[in-house]
Homo-oligomer: 212 residues x 2
């Protein structure tokens, strides 16, 4: 068993530390966030930090790195327009999706540069990704600065969901395996996913007698 203390972590070089800490939260969702500036330049960026906050109202959050650099176009565009899209990365587009993380100038659209296609649906102002199979339109609700490291937690309310008819059940369960939604570990590794178990709602008096 390898043990890293906080001192060990702080003494790692920048790249190994980034790889290690980006790995330890477990598998992360692979999503592309689509935005457009007020002047009409589109932007697309991969994020592994989208997180469910609640269903009523339907809220999702994600983490934006410090907005000081020229490369933080997602956050700038969301502030300008109030809207954005979250699009699942599937295993067919992991390479295109990954290269959206390159630091392109603001007048370069990652859609064009990375071979993905802008799609406008239901009159929503922000661009969806045509190649994605699960797409969500959101409106900005709140920005929470995380003081400890200068990141920003961006909270949005779901306004639209688009997905194939055949992957959603009557009970609202979505079969993400069927559309090959991918997940991420660390900073650069992409994975496919297969179901191993679906379990009932857990009640204290129905817990199995686990054999210790």
């Amino acid at each position: 068993m390898k043990h890293f203390t906080r001192t060990d972590i702080d003494e790692l070089a920048r790249i190994p530390r980034a790889n290690l800490i980006n790995s330890i939260s477990g598998y992360k969702p692979a999503n592309l966030i689509g935005t457009v500036s007020r002047s009409g330049n589109t932007n697309l960026a991969i994020f592994s930090s989208v997180v469910h906050l609640g269903a009523d109202p339907p809220l999702l959050g994600f983490v934006q790195r410090p907005a000081s650099g020229v490369d933080r176009h997602t956050c700038q565009n969301i502030r300008e327009t109030g809207v954005y899209t979250i699009n699942h990365v599937n295993t067919d587009i992991v390479e295109q999706a990954h290269y959206t993380s390159a630091k392109f100038d603001r007048d370069v659209s990652e859609f064009e540069a990375c071979g993905l296609t802008e799609e406008y649906l239901a009159g929503f102002a922000a661009p969806f990704v045509k190649e994605s199979r699960v797409k969500i339109g959101l409106r900005l609700v709140d920005e929470m600065p995380i003081e400890r490291n200068g990141t920003i937690f961006i909270i949005g309310e779901v306004e639209h969901i688009f997905l194939p008819d055949e992957i959603i059940s009557e009970e609202g369960n979505v079969d993400l395996n069927a559309v090959e939604t991918a997940c991420i570990s660390g900073l650069d590794t992409y994975h496919s996913v297969r179901q191993v178990a679906r379990l009932p709602y857990a009640r204290p008096f129905e817990v199995p007698d686990f054999d210790r």
Copy 2:
């Protein structure tokens, strides 16, 4: 293509809405959070909302449901002691891990009730999960109330990491496939994960010529 507008989502019954919105963020990490109350009662609960916030300092966040109910023992214990553990769920313990979500009384330890084993390492006050293969000890840094839905975003700094020697590379990359770390979709579905691609650091002038 199925299209849900915000009105459609709001008109769904509670369970289908919860299933749908819990599914659309993509695959989620499967983690068990271990805590202990000031009086010594241990608690273990599954969370799918752990998110990477930054590597320097090493910070992770997670979302706690409204702390009003008697069942929010994780948050209560973290407030009392200032420390907690995050332990990866692997495919061998998905059933045990899932049943920690049942609403046990505060004097019941989910370790005992769900057949998992408390482990104390490096003098850290919060209990780790012996059956887990990647374990993190954290200290509470901040709590951010999410006003829109009454949840709380809990932020912690990593103090300890324990993992098998053979799954970490010189560059700090961690092979989560090798220890069968699981991921979650929706509220009740568990998955195993297999790598499909590892991609280089993305620079604008090195983007492949994607054939459109």
